[in-house]
Each structure stands twice: as C-alpha cells, then as structure tokens.
Subunit: 248 residues, 2 copies
Amino acid sequence: MNPASPLDNVRIVLSHTSHPGNIGATARAMKTMGLNKLYLINPKSFPDSEADARASNARDILETAHVCSNLEEALGDTFLAAALTARRRDLPHPTCNARQAAIELIRHAQHHPVALLFGRESAGLTAAEISHCQVTVQIPANPDCSSLNLAAAVQVMAYELRMVLEEDAAAHYFASRLPDAASLHEIEGLHYHLERVMIHSGFMDPDQPKHLMRRIRRLFARTRLEKEEVNLLRGLLTAVDPHNSSKS
Amino acid sequence: MNPASPLDNVRIVLSHTSHPGNIGATARAMKTMGLNKLYLINPKSFPDSEADARASNARDILETAHVCSNLEEALGDTFLAAALTARRRDLPHPTCNARQAAIELIRHAQHHPVALLFGRESAGLTAAEISHCQVTVQIPANPDCSSLNLAAAVQVMAYELRMVLEEDAAAHYFASRLPDAASLHEIEGLHYHLERVMIHSGFMDPDQPKHLMRRIRRLFARTRLEKEEVNLLRGLLTAVDPHNSSKS
C-alpha cells in the first residue's frame, strides 16, 4: 500500500465516546490537518445531528467512519498503535510526548496503517485498551488540569502529525530503514500462544494470572517486534511445548 | 513584572465571538496548557451557561475574564500582539507559523505582557484588527479545509506555547526515571538459559546454530530488559523445561 500521503495511513480511533459533539469536532480537527480515517468503537450515539453540526465541512469523514464493536476490529491490521493518556500508570509502556509520537507514527505510516487511540471523555482508556498499544502518548499539560477535551486532544495530535511532514528537520529521519515490522495481528498471535504455554507448563495459574500477561505485553511493546522475530519465538514455543502449537 | 511563568504574561484575546460554547472551550484549552488571561472583545453572549458547561474545570478563567469594548482596550499594555489568520492577505504582515510564533511570544513574555488575537468564527479577523498586531500567525493546515474551530486553534497555540517551555525537559525525557534495569550479568544468564532450552527442545542444533542467538540478543537488546522481566522469563523457561534450570 503506497498512500498519496502518510496521513492517509493514520487512523483516529475513538473508544466509547459519550458526546456525539466530540465526534463531529474530531472529524473537523482531522480534516483541517489532512487526516481522513475515523474509527469509532461503540459510540454512545452515532450518527447524530450534534456530530454533524460540529463537523462543519468535515461531514464526509463522518459518512465514511468505521463503527466497530471492539478494539481488535479497529486496530487489527495496523502496525503501530499509540494510546493517548493523561495519567501515569503503575506499569507504564514506553511513553513519549505528542511530538515524538507524531514522528514515530509518520515514519511507520509511510509503509503501513497506524492508529492513534483515544478513550472515554470521563475516564480515558482502560489498562486493557492501553495494553493493546505499543506506545503511550502524553500531551504535555498543566499538571493541575491535564485533561484536554477529546477533540482538542485530537487536534493537537493531528497538528503534530502534519507538522512532521512540514518540517525539514525530520527529513533525514525517514532515510533510516524500517525493518519488516510484525502486524498487531501477528503479535496478538504470539501473546496468545505464549499464554497457552505459560498455562500448560504450570507457570501461570489461569485463575490467578497476576499481571503476567500485562508484563509480557509491555516487554514486547517496547521491542517493536519484527515478523521474523515473531516467527522465531513461536517456533521456540512450539518446540518446548509441541502439544500446544496453538494456531491463531 | 516578573511572572512565575512566562505563560502568565500571555493573554488570549477573542474578538466578537458568536458562540459562547467556544468561549468556554477556549478557557479549558488555556487552562490545560497553563494559560490564565482571557480577554473578550464584544462577545455575543457572556457570561453564558453554554460557556460554563464547555469550560469544565476552567470556570475560574471565565470568572476572571476581561470583557472589553474595543481592541485597544484589550491590547493596550502589551508589547507584542500576534494575529491568527487562516487566509493570505493582500498586504501581508510578516507571517510565521504557530511554532515560530510561540517561540517569539515566549521570548517577549519573559519580560512583558503579550497577546494572541483570534477573530470571529465566521470570518476571522478584519484587516483593521490585523493591522493592530505586529505579527500574523498561520497554523499549518489542509489547504482544502484550513479553518480550525476557534477553541481548537487556541488549543494548538496554547500547546505550542507550553512546548517552548517543555522542550528542554523533553530532550531529557528518556533519561528520566529508568525502571530497575537488569545487569549485563543477569541478561547473559537469561541468554545462556534460553540457549540451553533451545538446544534441549530441539529448536536449535548446537552444531548449526544459524543466527538464532544473535537474533535473540538483538531482540532483547532493544527492550532494555528490567530485572523483574529477566526473572519472569527465566521462571517461564524453568517451567517449560524443568530439567534445564541452568544456574549461571
């Protein structure tokens, strides 16, 4: 897939949005910066006249929005997913700021679909949602009032994505070769296979999983696994536990 | 005047705003980035419940907003005023982009009050209003759809102002708190253990190791393994191959 612009490979994913006005304002924020792929996971109300009104000239983005019933559907074929969060976590992913994240996303978007995931207006993303992403992104903000309006956060990220393309400084960055990255689907297959082996070997009690899988996800999220590495690790898992070469 | 932060010297000036919701959203955008001085020139409706609702936790900024009847009143004591505009003008001022403008504004705000002026939702600033400013600012945007929502434009500018102050910190971002990293000795122990299990399981032929261990080393080198992660992985290796819990 060779998009006309890397921005065509960047999808904005809104999870469980409560206010349809924010969906419309998100569409407008996207269009002003040249983004056009909107994914909505279980929006409370969509389509909605309030979304149309706030979208202004960006109703076409609402009309082509993908409404999904779960996160996997929205992220499945992406190669890099970044989670927006205002809060610190006990088990943090690698966290970068909006500007750093935009550079990384555009670098990948030259070759593959990538996603930026935004959570609920009230509570942001869940830990489970974040664990499906490889990067956590924070927009630098006032520590006493760090919660941007949802569409305002989209505007800042979309602006930073556009600025990457406008900045000469970033030009040399793209010259660096990107290894053949594993897709999220392939990485999920590895996680699932590993979980099966952990249970089968007695290492993990499925009734008391503790945070084992979350730790594993965090570890692999940092590495940006390549296709060949996923194949290597799955080959090893099959070798140590031949009765459990789970297909997924 | 020696402000605690240069951001205390930056005022946001909205001229003839039609929608009170945009005034509230502007207050929220400002507060999330640490700005607090809001000036309103002849707003259509203010105070207004819609402004309060959209301000969320930033109602204090609405309560201390200065309502002015003309531009001179709003800009009078500032030392630099920048006009936001999406359009090219016949007689253009020196024009800079949002990032360049933020640097210039913060430079002055370390010593004096400065202003960022935003026009009507429908038509932007008039030529007369722009002529009162020393700088014209454009937010880089999609040429086919360049009109950001008013509060979204404030959010981008406020974000860029904050980023000027955060950039030094950002440079050291990755040097900040490092989780309890594994020692090289611990990582070598993991490599050795993994190699034993790979051989014992038949996954790797010790006489024809190919580049397997080199690939594994490269993968883990990228992750910067933590102590707990090494312990977790070695625990798993022992579980899948109990006869090979090699001490090292």
